[in-house]
Subunit: 297 residues, 2 copies
């Protein structure tokens, strides 16, 4: 279900609505980030796959693309701290979020049957998420590869008839391959949350369905007892709901902690503005990373 | 600096102090978890490498080993939620913690020189943490492998003369290999925090240097505004310092959140006992995962 794009009065809306939006993501075509792009912007978006996360942030920052999609946390593997660092360094605005179910498919060349397969290529993390499948199929050799969608691309390019890749079913569609088996992952609770990023004031409006707003912030407090309690009073006293909080020790600054916090509300609503002003009294750094429509979770 | 083991009156101390402690970890000999074992228990520990994290917890739970060492969070990649899940399911006690600097070495067979190397094997995550090194050495082919230490083991076993692995320098020592270059990682701020686990009441005492205590707990609150604020009052009103807090949405229970929290103090000290009793009033589930000597951070 591609989300619909909502225009919003507090964002400038420049001319590029008449053409398709270009969006950068890390990985190969067919990666789960590419699936997230589809959920957020639909299929009309012009995608720009890049090798590294900092390439993605730089492409957005240098106006080589209109938007970027990055993973920010996974239900099994936690927060992607590298991308929080880039959010603080490159200062884009978060304008949307979506959750992608990380469901792995076994994918091969058209005409290849399950019983032909001897080798299975994928990223080791994906191979390790399908251990029950390999236990049930002990004749299959697991071969580590750079990434999930890339393994399908390679198998198709080389025309391998005894091999399959493990990737999103979107990868099969993109590379003209065939899904032999869906949902071979051990744990169906594997979801990744993605952010849609735009340049501040550049007009790519908030994206998502109208089920309320969420705001993401980052702040630091001095490491004294009660510092976080005082900071959270800004939300509790105004009945604002938190949906995420995470502390991260600042390396090299042993007495400071960085916090990531998401709350329900829009940063420029009056109550939220007062809460953020109150919070600023009890924090050193305070950064609003963006307000965006809350995704179905 | 291997930490010294401290005996503590509140843990029973059975007979197995006279023999070496057996300790399970996930991965190959020479993995960073193995380095953590050395930091926590010294070199006398009998190590039991196992393929999966749940194997490690099960081996401890079934008394096949005396202790286990598991990674719990990384400064770049966040918390290892899988291991938090296992902590809640298998219910071991945390009796120690340590931080391991994830520093990658380029490792080859003895006699092989840097200029002989054409291929570099390692886990893709490790290969991606050394991108600057590969940019400076564009003639090197990167080959994904199952894990870091395992790549060194394979190169030695097969006697490859044109290949190197990327792993801990401990892996070089264990497999009789040669370190060609140390610290080839891009980001020196890459640290992993490990827990030492024991069976409750089984006598492996708290392990670590005497620089104060830390307690790790997990709790759930209903998702209502101010729920976390009320929970944190238990610590703030008693001047107890938090060193970690992280929320995790409970999949399938959209109105509940699970929190991981670490605070400075020992669960059976009177003030901490009262704080935990107070906290229990404002939480549904509350689990003390263990109290242990605070590691140098």
């Amino acid at each position: 279900m591609p989300a619909t794009r909502k225009k919003s009065g507090h964002h400038a809306q420049p001319a590029h609505h008449s053409r398709s939006v270009s969006v950068a993501f890390q990985g190969e075509l067919g990666a789960f980030s590419h699936v997230a792009v589809g959920q957020l912007l639909g299929r009309q978006a012009a995608v720009v796959p890049l090798p590294r996360f900092d390439d993605v942030f730089r492409a957005l920052s240098k106006s080589r693309v209109d938007a970027a999609v990055i993973p920010i946390e996974n239900t099994l593997h936690g927060s992607v701290h590298e991308n929080y660092d880039h959010l603080l360094d490159f200062e884009p605005q978060i304008v949307g979020e979506t959750h992608v179910r990380v469901s792995h498919s076994l994918i091969a060349c058209a005409g290849v049957r399950s019983k032909d397969i001897r080798r299975v290529f994928s990223h080791p993390v994906a191979l390790n998420q399908c251990l029950d499948f390999f236990t049930r199929n002990p004749h299959l050799e697991r071969v580590p590869f750079y990434d999930t969608a890339g393994s399908v691309k390679m198998i198709i390019e080389q025309g391998l008839r005894d091999a399959a890749g493990i990737a999103s079913s979107a990868a099969a569609e993109i590379y003209g391959a065939h899904v032999l088996k869906r949902a071979i992952e051990d744990d169906p609770r594997n979801f990744t949350r993605f952010f849609l990023l735009a340049r501040p004031g550049d007009g790519l409006g908030p994206v998502g369905e109208a089920r309320g707003w969420k705001t993401s912030i980052a702040f630091t407090t001095r490491n004294v007892p009660g510092a976080l309690f005082r900071a959270l009073s800004a939300f509790a006293l105004r009945d604002l709901s938190l949906t995420k909080i995470e502390s991260r020790p600042l390396r090299g600054k042993p007495w400071e902690y960085l916090f990531y916090l998401d709350f329900l509300g829009k940063a420029d609503d009056p109550v939220c503005r007062r809460a953020l002003a109150h919070l600023a009294e009890f924090t050193d750094l305070l950064r609003v990373l963006g307000s965006y429509p809350k995704a179905r979770s």
